[in-house]
Symmetry: C2
Subunit: 99 residues, 2 copies
DNA sequence: ATCTCATTTAGCGACTTCGCTAATTAGCTG
DNA sequence: CAGCTAATTAGCGAAGTCGCTAAATGAGAT
């Protein structure tokens, strides 16, 4: 683990990313559609303007919750469930640890 | 469950509350010290000015993550683990549901 | 009633977030 | 290359967050 500050920063990034309803919904949408979708496909499912969704996607990407891959003209966003473990890990630890 | 909007609002409140490092730390501190502490006891463990911590406590309270009880001069904050289930529930559901 | 102690509320300034529209980048096709 | 399409970046304004200090509240003790 090392680098406690890096770990805290990661927690900050992940929890902040999850703090917005639209971003949680993006993750859910991705999951329900098999784990990966084109950016426009995602944007099309939201009432927000496309650039707004683009920015949400960037926040999720910076938190490590999704990854992007260029696929010709489109960009494929993929759910990265591994980094969600940061949250479950924190929750589990909070519940189990003894003082 | 009913009221989908109420449920979404609760998710918003809880995830937003967890999005700040100091607030996560307050929950951890509470847990490690047995689940309840006086406000001043909590504030004393943070570098922030006392009113700043008071506000964080209010955010946590509004999210249902802690409760307060007047105890003479002091106010006793108690961890409310039940409402943390909102998060674990969301996480679990996200991981297990099939599209 | 007054004083003190624990805590909150009020209010300010710096900064960030989140929505938008307009402009730009970059790949593909003719 | 010109033109279309997918998506991002730029930049703006409204609103929220988070730190602070100063003032107010409210309970207990003198």
């Amino acid at each position: 683990m090392a680098e406690p500050e890096a770990r805290l920063a990661e927690l900050d990034a992940v929890f902040s990313a999850l703090a917005h309803r639209a971003r949680r919904q993006i993750l859910m949408t991705l999951h329900f559609r098999g784990g990966s979708m084109a950016a426009g496909d995602i944007a099309g499912r939201f009432a927000h303007a496309w650039p707004t969704t683009t920015r949400h996607l960037k926040v999720l990407e910076e938190a490590g919750l999704v990854t992007v891959e260029r696929k010709g003209l489109t960009r494929l966003y993929r759910l990265e469930p591994k980094n969600l473990e940061v949250v479950t890990g924190w929750m589990k630890w909070l519940k189990s640890a003894k003082g």
